[in-house]
């Protein structure tokens, strides 16, 4: 299945050519797929194949800057535990492979796809774009904070 049509793929290449400046590392955590079957939680993965295609398209849009690791959590459960991966597919975005703190749980379509592109671009440029006031406020955090944002494709 073509998750991203060719014109969008080309747009992505053109955009990444001009916008990306530094390295971006994507890690895709998957489990062997089960096509379109809807299975109980923890069994199979209906969207892992689509997520793999999406992650590979991002990498292929700028292969000199974007790298991709594919982790099958059934083959490497220790890695999943270490990275605190509870569901698949999960795409993590960071500058390197060390426990990236930006994650997309589920296939990032709809409003999540532009957010994924934005995350890749911002990580590449190390450009959070927040105000100085916000950065100063966030510096008050002394312990990890998890911010989960639920979204839907439409």
């Amino acid at each position: 299945m073509a998750v991203i049509p060719e014109p969008v793929r080309q747009q992505l290449k053109d955009r990444f050519d001009t916008v990306l400046s530094g390295p971006v590392h994507l890690t895709l955590y998957t489990r062997p797929g089960s096509s379109r079957l809807i299975l109980p939680a923890g069994v199979g993965c209906a969207t892992c194949e689509d997520a793999r295609q999406m992650a590979e398209l991002l990498r292929d849009a700028a292969p000199e800057k974007v790298t991709l690791d594919l982790i099958d959590i059934t083959r490497d459960p220790a890695r999943a535990t270490a990275d605190e991966i509870y569901d698949v597919p999960t795409i993590a975005v960071g500058q390197n492979s060390e426990a990236p703190r930006i994650r997309f749980r589920g296939l990032p379509t709809g409003t999540e796809f532009p957010a994924l592109i934005d995350a890749v671009e911002r990580v590449s440029r190390m450009e959070h774009g927040l105000s100085e006031e916000s950065v100063a406020a966030l510096a008050k955090l002394t312990e990890p904070a998890e911010v989960m944002v639920f979204a839907t494709p439409t």
Partner: protein, 83 residues
């Protein structure tokens, strides 16, 4: 969700997780997701709707237990505690 990602870039203490609500109904049920975007901080406080940056940061600090100097009110309703 872009703001959450940007906060994760700005602070090593923040982890941003965008969750596809339909794909993980057990999570949507656990966190009582009725509308999107639905933001959950440290699995104990939540708000629905998009907030301006300043209010979003304040909500994250509150959810993380950091004392916020100015009282904050979310335009779409107050944050709720998850029990």
């Amino acid at each position: 969700m872009s703001l959450a990602n940007r906060m994760a870039l700005a602070s090593p203490q923040v982890r941003a997780v965008c969750v596809e609500a339909n794909e993980f109904p057990h999570l949507s049920a656990q966190f009582r997701v009725r509308g999107v975007p639905h933001t959950v901080i440290n699995r104990r406080s939540a708000f629905v709707g998009a907030l301006p940056e300043r209010d979003f940061v304040a909500a994250v600090l509150e959810g993380a237990g950091v004392l916020v100097e100015e009282p904050h009110e979310a335009p779409s309703g107050p944050s709720t505690e998850i029990t």
